[in-house]
Symmetry: C2
Subunit: 305 residues, 2 copies
Amino acid sequence: MKEHELIGIIKGELNSKYIGDDCAYITDAGIVVTQDNLVEDIHFCLEYISPFELGYKSVMVNLSDIAASGAEPLCLTVGLSLPKYVTTEFIKDFYRGMKKAAGKIQIVGGDITGGDKVFISVTAIGKDSDRKISSRKFAKSGQKILVSGNHGSSAAGLELLKSGISDRNNPFIKAHLMPMARLDISKNIAKTANKNYAMMDTSDGLADALSAIAYASGVKMVINFDKIPKYKNLEQFENYKDLVLYGGEDYELVATLDFIPEGMTVIGEVMKGQGLEIIYDDYKEILTRKDIERKLYNHFEGNEK
Amino acid sequence: MKEHELIGIIKGELNSKYIGDDCAYITDAGIVVTQDNLVEDIHFCLEYISPFELGYKSVMVNLSDIAASGAEPLCLTVGLSLPKYVTTEFIKDFYRGMKKAAGKIQIVGGDITGGDKVFISVTAIGKDSDRKISSRKFAKSGQKILVSGNHGSSAAGLELLKSGISDRNNPFIKAHLMPMARLDISKNIAKTANKNYAMMDTSDGLADALSAIAYASGVKMVINFDKIPKYKNLEQFENYKDLVLYGGEDYELVATLDFIPEGMTVIGEVMKGQGLEIIYDDYKEILTRKDIERKLYNHFEGNEK
């Protein structure tokens, strides 16, 4: 079963107005909440990632969802399941990594249990404070499409790791193992915005985020491939276009805004219509939600990522 | 490694003032948060529990932690990992069970991923509203010790299930598979209390909760075994005293109060001193924290529960 089919079933059963964005916004309480799983041999492989990096990434992945909502991160809880072979050193390093990523944001609780494989489920809670909270439903034609950071780096890093290269100073490998949630950029956007805006992170890839916004908002997202920021030597990878669009795990922000915040680059414009249009030098393609889903990694295929 | 050793390591690494109670109380934001894991073949066995009951129990376990804090439940998120063999019907029934248990409390999000075994990590968030939030540190000599409901039922139910009996009308089996978080009693206590009080649920057993309060508050908890409410025919189980004290998973409340709320029974008194003293008809025993830990189920032993 594909993930989006599963989510469809769950939405049907729960009939909850909150399910749709990565963070649920509980307006009464002024908080946003998100929970993400990282499962051994599905989302990570202990051969490539150290316990410290794993703890670090587990927290960043969730803080990135908070960043995408525009909220101020408040606290984290961690549900952890560990096999018996895991050592005290592993656990210490894992928590050190989590603490490093969390910085001033407190890890306030959670649960730790046994299991056959390492399973991590982190919950992050944020406050709306005096910020405007985003939704993928809020894109409007006429807005600019903007992204933070470089794209395709994390997936390139995974390719290098799989090929046996493990140099932690390599920018691609660093991007894959120690991603950075864009909390500062998010804060600036959410405090500056005076109209509704769409924002997501690129956890599942840039094309997926753009397409999800297009689909949820009922608009066409038109971007220019050459405007997407990337490390120059990404082009050394034969499939670099796929890495940029479908690689995922860069945890950069994609937003539709009518202003240009520091750290964000304009890559296109929101138009009337539907789907995702990507303009290249000499041709363009229009991708439906189905096209994207076909291209995307599917969690239930068991592909190690 | 024992669970309390692990928690010691984690506390040391995180150095967080919040870790100690089952719910972390974020006073600035006026919220409490708790996250609990349920792992296949450690916390449950699909041979004994239906997907509906599993969903139901996963939610109740977490709502019970909210009840123990005294807070008003606000929302839930669910991290779920499912093996490939799990059917659409399983998932639908699981979410129906969760929804049934949640009632008016919204399930607002979460994550669903693949995995080798069923792994469930539920986060529950509550609001302090106009309530007094409990802590296991808040017991004071002179307070009464009170419990809700009947004790030992859930563990008796598990024994029956393991022996091949599966009648869902049997009160013990019902207590094990479909426990009830004591939200109404908790609400009454938290709205009535005008002084600090200790409260926990009996997820890990009545003796463990009493001992944890004694240890965290630096007091002696003195209880009278015969005053602990139980189903009369629990005595048909040879080990019924162990079921009452160490069985766990009844999800009843234990509190130290200076008033007697509806639905709670006085079973003893908080005294100066340390440890847990249990008075029987013709003898008494004093149990240290270590004694209790030795007796308790250890998640890392892989005992199916």
